[in-house]
Amino acid sequence: MKKLLPITLLLVLAWSPPVFAQQTWPSHITLRTATQVELSSDSLVNRGHPTIISFWATWCKPCNKELDALSELYDEWREETGVRIYAIAVDDSRSQADVVPHANGRGWPFDVLLDSNQELMRALHIFAVPYTLLLDGQGTIVYQHNSYKDGDEDELLEQIKKLAASPNPQ
């Protein structure tokens, strides 16, 4: 009976060969805004334009560095490419109350959302923050990277520009 696991997986894969095609953004997962309004993960897709999703936590130093860097570049990037940034906090109830004061205190201009029991994080198989994803205008994940070091935002910009220049318009 132990053989059932690989058999099941093989059956699923054999039945549907295109499944490993480009990753798509999960739908139907409930997030919350800073004012506790529920919204579905689908609504984050920036129809026709790229979206940057950054998973972060208040206690994560590299996350804060990355979001500080994106914060400085946001206006310029938005004007140039129409990109939208969402910072999704994965803080649990210990530090969740700090998310809004923290983001406001640092003056981040983008939307901050809450994934309080890490449901979206799990659906994307993310186990550590910071973790950043770039979605195209249809919700396909075209780039992702884990961790952060200064200068990683340059690579992100390259990817956004590549997306903007791709033959299929966003």
């Binding site: 295109p18 309004v37 004061p101 884990n146």
Partner: protein, 552 residues
């Protein structure tokens, strides 16, 4: 095993059925994580040889999504579990599987699932691999959204405990209402209000437990209920969040089999506008350890989660004495102030400076003992003055950008820690901590980060308690990122007074897209590792560590 196989077949079959349901073939995603460790005897830090030489935890997750259908499974192997993990994890097998159907109104999950009601005071099922915690519920969960703004959740299941399940059955109901979405007259209101109610009940068979007088057996409640009510209100820049939970009579091993009712209150108020925010939190917890098995202590089988009010820190020495939530009694307050010193001012410089001030203080409750097993145990005052000091943290943290290539952080703090929260008697430890780090961008692909930390403590090493954190500490970290994807790091920590050794580590790593490989070598201090106020004792180790994670 037979049941597991049937369920696995069901998951597989439903995956295949669902591929034909949607217009496309759906999507398979997954991840693989491997954590390996060796360790040898080192009398200076108290580490021991590992009989099997190599310890290894590995996890493989697969998830299939197609329209409204999702299915997933996780294979885990512990050959043998890493140091600090519960030995009962030893083994390998299918640890987690689920199938779910979801549309705009309905969500049905069968198999394993994670869930949280409100802030978790009466129910939180979650996974934290670093701590080896996974109290997923196995059973059925239904979520129903009859109208916009109302979410009803019902669930039943048993909790995972390594490769087994807790004997108790957990049932839960939760309702949450967003008043502004329900009532059209409030839809444009600047004041937004959400309210919620939860009820959780545990059923566990009777067992033979004596009272303080061995001639009498305790009359144990088979069903133990807990309720909570919560409210979250925002008005412009202001917000107020409150949650109250009460628990019925729940004699268990952690409270000494007393019959006192439990309660918890969390209050949080904040003012937040761009560039400035302030928050104030208060928390009172009384006899709220709630598990699906009354005779279990340790990390497993918690039904609820009491968040720690202590401030999480990112610098190492601020976490040398982490505070673990005292689920059976604590009273704490915390205040935070965040602001940005403006660009162009003397302190703000060219780019501005971020400032964060924090003050936290936590104590025991003011209690009076009235009896032992089989009685109410004690009485407690709502606040009172006869409280034992557990923890204080006063800190200031600054982040400043000097130029496009130079950034720095600084944190200074004073931390008072009572070892009784870790179960050790002794004097309060008073710690002064300074930490700073500088990041230099040397080119488009090269980054150098330097970090230095200092901790001075009045704690004295005691051979009986053998707390190797005692003494005064210095730490230096040098980290160099190069060729876009690689990094090397040296982390040197030493106790320079009342010496309890030095802990030096080196690590190299490779990070690319969704993958990360890290290899380290060195000493790891014995101590407590905490995430979110939940802590695990970590034995000392000296050896190699390998960590690999990727997702697809």
């Amino acid at each position: 095993m037979k049941k597991k196989s049937i369920l696995l077949l069901a998951v597989g079959a439903l995956c295949i059925i669902s591929t034909t349901w949607g217009q496309n073939a759906g999507r398979v995603s997954g991840s693989v994580q491997i954590e390996a460790q060796t360790s040898h005897r080192d009398t200076a830090i108290g580490s021991e040889d590992v009989p099997s030489r190599l310890l290894l935890n590995s996890y493989a997750d697969f998830r299939y999504d197609n329209g409204p259908f999702s299915a997933g499974l996780r294979f885990e192997a512990y050959h043998n579990p890493l140091l600090g993990f519960d030995p009962s994890y030893k083994g390998a097998g299918l640890a987690h599987y689920f199938f779910s159907y979801q549309n705009d109104q309905l969500e049905l999950t069968a198999g394993h699932y994670y869930e949280q009601f409100g802030q978790g005071l009466v129910l939180r099922a979650y996974e934290d691999r670093l701590l080896g915690l996974d109290n997923a519920l196995q059973g059925v969960r239904l979520k129903y959204r009859p109208v916009k703004g109302i979410t009803l959740t019902g669930l039943i299941g048993r909790q995972r405990s390594a490769w087994d399940f807790g004997a108790g059955i957990v049932r839960g109901l939760d309702g949450e209402m967003a008043l502004n979405s329900i009532f059209s007259t409030l839809s444009e209101s600047k004041t937004r209000v959400n309210i919620g109610l939860s009820f959780v009940s545990r059923f566990e068979d009777d067992e033979s437990i004596t009272s303080d007088n061995p001639a009498y057996m305790l009359n144990l409640p088979l069903n133990v209920g807990a309720v909570s009510a919560r409210m979250h209100m925002t008005h412009g820049h202001f917000s107020l969040q409150a949650e109250y939970a009460g628990k019925g009579q729940d004699p268990n091993i952690t409270n000494g089999y007393i019959y006192k009712y439990g309660s918890a209150v969390l209050l949080n108020t904040q003012y937040a506008r761009p560039g400035f925010s302030a928050s104030l939190r208060a928390q009172r917890v009384d006899n709220m350890d709630f598990r699906s098995v009354r005779s279990r202590s340790g990390d497993m089988l918690h039904i609820n989660y009491i968040p720690s009010i202590a401030q999480p820190h990112s610098y190492t020495f601020f976490n040398l004495y982490p505070y673990a939530t005292q689920t059976n009694g604590e009273l704490g307050i915390q205040g935070n102030l965040y602001f940005k010193l403006r660009k162009g001012t003397a302190l703000g410089g060219k780019y501005g400076t971020d400032v964060h001030l924090n003050y936290t203080t936590i104590s025991s409750l003011d209690t009076m003992r009235i009896g032992g097993r089989g009685t109410d145990g004690y009485t407690s005052k709502p606040i009172g003055s006869n409280r034992e000091h557990y923890y204080t943290d006063l800190s200031i943290e600054l982040s400043h950008k000097f130029s496009p290539t130079v950034k720095a952080g600084f944190c200074a703090g004073y931390i008072v820690f009572n070892p009784i929260v870790e179960g050790h008697a002794g004097q309060l430890h008073h710690n002064w901590v300074l930490a700073t780090d500088v990041t230099l961008k040397l080119g488009s692909r090269r980054v150098l980060r330097l970090e230095a930390e200092w901790l001075e403590s009045d704690s004295k090493y005691d051979a009986v308690v053998d707390d190797k954190r005692c003494g005064d500490w210095l730490m230096e970290v040098v980290e160099y990122h190069f060729a876009r994807h690689f990094f090397v790091q040296a982390n040197l920590q030493r106790c320079y007074h009342d010496g309890t050794g030095n802990y030096n580590q080196v690590a190299v790593g490779y990070t690319h897209n969704a993958s990360r490989l890290q290899v380290g070598y060195g000493r790891q201090r014995q101590g407590i590792v905490c995430v979110g106020g939940v802590c695990r004792e970590m034995p000392a180790s000296n050896g190699l560590t390998v960590s690999f994670i990727t997702s697809f």
